[in-house]
Symmetry: C2
Subunit: 314 residues, 2 copies
């Protein structure tokens, strides 16, 4: 696996980024990924500011390699989080769910590398114009919150590649070395994996959630709540009840009431597989085992190199 | 581009199949694709039996290379179509939209190669059990009618590959040599392209429809009518009016009335870009020009080989 604009930008060995997901991406996962040669991200989206600061401080102790954080800009305490980033000397910030103009120049003025997550060509261009260092383009198959246009990774990556000049990270549907290589062919300089790292030993996902990821197949997730913020969930008891509400023609209020609060924590972190909101990507259907991060990296590299060596026979 | 199980199965030069789409895939397109070294398919789904017979007869005159037909098994005159296939000595049949058990053994008893189109692992296994010679696995990004589970090509292909032994054709989101190579890496033995061939000189799509395909970008199509048979359409005037009905909470009857009859013909064949139903894949966003089929093949082969030669630098 050769150097790319992404390995150079972050000064890492492999162009593999671990998505900074809610409830599963604490310092243990981020540090393990960075120690394995990728880029680990602490997911700030589910952390109070003091918890976030603690994770950043612990991550600095757990790895001397580059790591970063993911901050959804719609987060209520976003200013506090950004101040922590600056105070603690975090070098890499991935922003999502908001306007990249809001924070990019301030962060860059503090010497921070900024990457923005997008799901369309239009927002990729906006991010580039805002001065970010790279974009993550994430397709419809990704877990959790997702774009409204529902463009899949296979079609989104070459369309974004065609119009941007800055480095491009592909996300959504990637969990193997083969799909990493496929993304390189489509023009990505690196990849971001989410689901694969949820089912790692170091993620803070509840064991029940990790187990279910290894058991489900294709068709086990669905993008729902499209009227609010579209989100891809496992079709568990809660999801089926939500579908029943839709079938009854429930209004937005009724849907919001059903959704309630803290269901993602309940499912993904506390392990309630019936009542929780279980955010995972379609690619979970390819994930059969919970593995240590180091093993995930060893397997990705091996699969990638094997796929690469076969290609001249194609 | 080396031989694969798909080039061997059909005795063709390139593992490239042209989807047998409604209103755009007459004998002219099918013969042009077969003459260029791929496998052309006549799309029976929009043809009365006598029209279908005429296209088969003309295709036999227009090419001495292998060609096939696509027959949606929910078609009301399916028995008549199958009899024409047998009478006219058609050697290759792609079936879709129905149970592969119904026709596979009768067709195979007549020496016909049978391929079935699926959108899930479960139906791929059912097709293999029914004795088909290969399956097309088609992802969510594909144009026209589509699976309910919404699994994307990037995740569907490796999941199907993992469980079937027969040859696998990838479809949905593929229009370039790079994406062809990506699909080979994910385990496909060949690819089926739809949208790319709609925007060919030889397709029977109306020029207005071809033009719009070259103009649209990402986010210009959407999978709708999910309660009936999910279908991916361009967001034109008709589509927007349909969305307004949904927003008003319209019931199934009202939606059906709005849909009416023959809207696909009106748009795709007769060129009414406002009132017609315009079925195309997300990958239309990558298609900028209407080209002759021979040029499409030349470009695909060149892109494929260039991508292949770059891969050892990755």
């Amino acid at each position: 696996m050769k150097a790319t604009r992404i390995t150079q930008l972050f000064n890492i060995q492999y162009p593999i980024i671990q998505g900074g997901m809610i409830w599963v991406s604490g310092y243990k996962l981020a540090a393990a990924v960075s120690n394995a040669g990728g880029l680990g991200l602490i997911g700030a989206g589910s952390m109070y500011p003091d918890v976030f600061r603690e994770h950043v401080q612990k991550c600095k102790k757990a790895t001397n390699k580059p790591f970063g954080v993911n901050i959804p800009m719609l987060y209520p305490n976003v200013e506090e989080l950004m101040q922590i980033v600056i105070d603690e000397g975090v070098k890499i910030v991935f922003t999502s769910a908001g306007n990249p103009k809001t924070w990019t120049s301030k962060l860059k003025a503090n010497g921070i590398i900024v990457v923005h997550v997008v799901s369309s060509v239009k927002f990729a261009l906006k991010a580039q114009d805002a001065g970010v260092d790279a974009v993550v383009a994430e397709g419809f198959e990704a877990g959790g919150h997702n774009g409204r246009e529902e463009t899949t990774t296979l079609t989104l990556i070459p369309m974004v590649k065609k119009v941007i000049q800055i480095p491009l990270i592909a996300a959504g549907g990637i969990a193997t070395g083969e799909s990493m290589l496929a993304m390189r062919i489509l023009g990505a300089d690196g990849v971001q994996l989410g689901s694969r790292f949820v089912a790692s030993e170091e993620s803070s996902a509840h064991d029940n959630f990790k187990k279910i990821i290894t058991e489900i197949g294709d068709g086990s997730t669905y993008l729902t709540l499209r009227e609010f913020a579209p989100v891809r969930l496992i079709k568990n008891k809660f999801f089926i009840e939500l579908m029943e509400l839709y079938a009854q023609g429930a209004d937005k209020e009724a849907l919001k009431e059903k959704l309630g609060r803290a269901r993602a924590k309940l499912g993904m972190f506390e392990g309630d597989m019936d009542e929780g909101e279980l955010e995972i990507g379609q690619v979970a259907g390819l994930i059969d085992t919970v593995k240590p991060v180091a093993q995930i990296f060893a397997d990705l590299v091996q699969e990638y190199q094997e796929a690469q060596s076969k290609i001249l026979n194609y």
